[in-house]
Amino acid sequence: MAMEKRLQKELQALVNDPPVGIKVDADQIGQNLSEWLVNVDGAPGSIYNGEKFQLQFKFGSRYPFESPQVVFVGPNIPVHPHVYSNGHICLSILTDDWSPALSVQSVCLSVVSMLSSCKEKKRPPDNAIYVKTCSKNPKKTRWWYHGKQCYHSEYKTSLLGMSSMGINT
């Protein structure tokens, strides 16, 4: 199966040659390649320096043609304007800008870089509403990548994905 073969390669590369601040536990992944936990460190020099986070990846059978589901899990969810308190992340490469040339490693590096560019620890302004109403799967959220602000709406309730635009400004 193409998806498993590719994940095997990615896992091997991450275990053999991990980038600084990114650690994957191959034993924990074991036989079930479709779900990974990756430990990510806040970058030195950023406001998340010294913090430890955990990203959960879930891969569908159409990976890498479709993006994985990626959320923060565990006791420490970074406080960031694009990270909801339930761990959902508003990052365009996880949905619309996904490409099969991206990988677990490049997603992790993008997430770390997103954290690093932040100057003030703040939740998204619509965090409370979103966490109450969102689907468990962040890919079901229609994200709007508009400058520094994140917008979202649920696929199921939206006409052409736009109905709740503006409720969160």
């Binding site: 590719r6 159409r62 490409s99 990548y145 508009h146």
Partner: protein, 181 residues
């Protein structure tokens, strides 16, 4: 370089299977050595089956997975290595895109309101911020070999004029609402 693999005493005669040098010829999608290799105009290497599947995944937005340059089936070059037994163009192997994927409309309604589309397709999209989204996701193909619209004066013509006006108004309202929302 062609002889390096055959020479017994050359330094590069026995590259390890994991040497990063090999990565040069790995498909950018499956990360394996590219089979039925094709290279895009932007220089990125893929297995043809892998690239084909990606182009099918997002038919309306065909971009290079690596650099996001525009890409299409016609604009990739097949690579033939020395001594490869099969010189068939890999693009012929994967069944070509089914021609009937886009279903034709029930009647031959034409939309004069959008009638600047010659014989090609008309594709509508606009974006907010970094996220372009597709408006009326399907491509509206006009006049591509279907019967000509009915001539003026017939009831059918009037009906189509009406339909197209409704369509146009919906679009205008939609854009207006988008601006004020």
């Amino acid at each position: 370089m062609a002889t390096a693999a055959d020479s017994q005493d050359g330094e590069e005669a026995t590259p390890s299977p994991n040497s990063s040098e090999n990565g040069t010829f790995e498909c950018n999608i499956c990360l394996d050595t590219a089979r039925d290799a094709v290279v895009s105009m932007c220089g990125h290497l893929f297995c043809w089956p892998c690239l084909h599947q990606w182009l099918e995944t997002r038919p309306t937005r065909q971009v290079c997975p690596v650099c996001k340059a525009g890409i299409s089936k016609e604009k990739v070059v097949p690579l033939y290595g020395r001594g490869s037994t099969n010189q068939q163009d890999p693009r012929d192997k994967v069944p070509p895109r089914p021609a009937g994927q886009r279903s034709e409309p029930e009647n031959n309604t034409n939309f004069p309101g959008f009638g600047f589309g010659g014989d090609g397709g008309l594709h509508f999209s606009f974006g907010i911020g970094a996220f372009p989204f597709t408006f009326f996701a399907s491509t509206l193909n006009l006049n591509d070999g279907r019967p000509q619209p009915p001539s003026a004066g017939t009831p059918q013509y009037a009906e189509e004029q009406f339909l197209s006006k409704v369509f146009l108004w919906v679009a205008v309202l939609f854009i207006f609402w988008l601006l004020i929302a």
